[in-house]
Symmetry: C2
Subunit: 174 residues, 2 copies
């Protein structure tokens, strides 16, 4: 994993001063590393029954599309409010200041359906927890959550105690 | 292709009154159809040398991620302004009223690199043409462009005459 980690670029002061941003584009653009990430996620969940792979806008779509293809499953997009055209369900979550929300089509998850969430990065966990709530509201089951990166120091995992989480790259500090 | 087409949901008056929206989520969530789309795109470009697969935010990421994985290539994201953390190049394009822009990391495309663009939908072609310009500014070659859907009546293809375009599903009218 240390080799994969070396492909993540650290960008200081993005999106604002004091924040150290983990840039995944330097990993994405390298074929062996990008494909290895997808393979490792798929291998980890290989023994679990999965009906659909869910991706969270926008970077999550890159990984969820590839994992869905590799596992031969359908792909479900969760998006920012107002982007999905048909009937949606919505879930709000807290930000440092104010709230944000994610939406999913009401018909995206069948009752009893087993869903694997794939996202690029676990930070404070608000978006992912809201996504778990959406799946469960629709009657689905969160079968697992895969992240390329986890920022351990933000303790997002604490919000996701009920779930099987698989993270490839851990960062213990900024 | 008519079978694949039947999985696209028509949503009237989205995002605004008078617009007929092509909803791809009803295709994405069905495994055989989603995977077939990826396979057909990859088969079409199988005989062309491709170095990287480029996806345009946000829905384009779903397809570009899966195509990159299947072709065993790296993946390059093109994003809305302000989303990419390192040094970018930017290209503006005209909207009905005003302009919009797309950005790409300066180090995303190497000189002489052959890039396949994958996107969900060709409408007026502004975003895709701007993306072609970005690739060429960086010294790359647009080796092909793949779309799931083309809205023929919007004539986006007229802006892309220099390129090898492959579309799976054509809609001749709203």
């Amino acid at each position: 994993m240390e080799e994969l980690k070396s492909f993540i670029r650290h960008v200081q002061d993005f999106p604002k001063k004091g924040i150290g941003f983990k840039d995944i584009t330097t990993l994405l653009k390298e074929e062996p590393q990008f494909c290895r990430v997808i393979d490792l996620i798929c291998e980890h969940f290989n023994n679990k029954k999965i009906d659909s792979v869910l991706g969270i806008e926008a970077r999550g779509f890159i990984f969820a599309g590839a994992v869905a293809y590799k596992l031969k499953k359908g792909m479900i997009p969760v998006r920012k409010p107002g982007k999905l055209p048909a009937e949606t369900i919505k879930e709000e979550y807290m930000l440092e200041y104010g709230t944000d929300a994610v939406e999913m089509h009401l018909d995206a998850v069948k009752s009893g359906s087993k869903v694997l969430i794939v996202d690029d990065l676990l930070a404070t966990g608000g978006t992912v927890k809201a996504t778990c709530n959406l799946i469960e509201k629709a009657g689905g089951i969160v079968q697992g959550i895969a992240f390329l990166i986890e920022l351990d120091f933000l303790k997002g995992r604490d919000k996701l105690k009920d779930y099987d989480i698989f993270t490839l790259l851990h960062f213990e500090s900024e």
